[in-house]
Symmetry: C2
Subunit: 256 residues, 2 copies
Amino acid sequence: MCQLLGMNCNTPTDIVFSFTGFATRGGLTDEHKDGWGIAFFEGNGVRHFVDYQAAVESPVAELIKRFPIKSKNVIAHIRKATQGQVTLENCHPFVRECWGRYWVFAHNGDLKNFAPQLDGAFRPVGNTDSELAFCYLLQQMRRRFGEHLPAIDALSQFMREITTEIAQYGTFNMLMSNGEALFSHCSTKLFYLVRQHPFTTAALADEEVAVDFSEVTTPKDKVAVIVTEPLTKNENWTQFAAGEMIVFVDGDVLPV
Amino acid sequence: MCQLLGMNCNTPTDIVFSFTGFATRGGLTDEHKDGWGIAFFEGNGVRHFVDYQAAVESPVAELIKRFPIKSKNVIAHIRKATQGQVTLENCHPFVRECWGRYWVFAHNGDLKNFAPQLDGAFRPVGNTDSELAFCYLLQQMRRRFGEHLPAIDALSQFMREITTEIAQYGTFNMLMSNGEALFSHCSTKLFYLVRQHPFTTAALADEEVAVDFSEVTTPKDKVAVIVTEPLTKNENWTQFAAGEMIVFVDGDVLPV
């Protein structure tokens, strides 16, 4: 199994604190050593870093920890290979373009006997069930909505249907973003919290690091963090229900 | 105008030497300070780094110079904005997937009144003429060959036709790769050389750096380097003719 980390905010925020704890699980406090990746939206652009080295040993991961990239939507992944070899093309997150927007996707879990018909619009480069699910999802999304990005409500409804459909084939914990919304689906395990005013000090569970967020935020800031296992030991994380999908926009849970 | 750098080899090779000289032009020895980018194929995967900071100031460029990523196909770009704002989504190289392969593209030049019909299969995320040309090229490629990657000869013939067509709209110096071949088209300025046995010492034109390639290669190695302005002062660079397209595979010029 792999681990997922997502962040969705109303103002560009760096993920150094959360990524530091998360990356520690990539080979040090946990066994997820078969690669890792992270994608940051900046405006409509994406910075995409993937590596098949363990996150704790990767010079690129070191860069991410030292170089505070500010973003409103981030998706990260550390991998323990279950399907597909340990190669660069099998590292999450995956990126594709649809409707002139980039879409970023990462998955934790295993899909069994999942062999959807692909029409060629989006095809996997590697050989993971995850990238196949992403390509199928985008294909169905474009079929449903035609030539234009739909409104967020319609898109959220589609995402609820397609994630439920794919989750019938196994475990489908996933994060996906187009730079505005962050869609998160839980099959088995996913937690989130929203940091907002009044901000307090948070202490990482995996390293001896604490940050007083009141010193680095403004009262208007809202930062949602979504993760496989809670990253901090002194904050209240909300666990997703099995089968639940939550859409985050501007650091808030979008009402269903 | 921007500058291009490409490398195509028969064995995974690091580009630290060439990139060091090239990145110096991004704000220090030359005026190309509106961002930069580089993409490395590793197997079928791609490492893609883009930044809107000048290459000489970018911490990511520092990482590339210190961390020798080995690749058989690399495309890099430093940008002086002529069309499109200085934003991440306008930084070259651009990456798309077609036929389950990644395609990487960078362009130097300006296209005027270039407004091709796009059917939606590939759409620009940013607002440069370059990304538009890339999307159009991929669309026409998929229309021509249908559902499968064609053989290299057919693909090269198509590339000759489409680059000639696009170059009618202005200056179209470009590099494109799918991880096997590197396609290069020259409108106005492009040089290449093939380093092979017996290897010698090369000295950068832009920095006081020299490398004795005989110490870091085997006699079988072949490394083609393609660039807007020669990178070294003691090697014989071949200038492309105007309108010429050259295809590199395994470090060699593919016969026409």
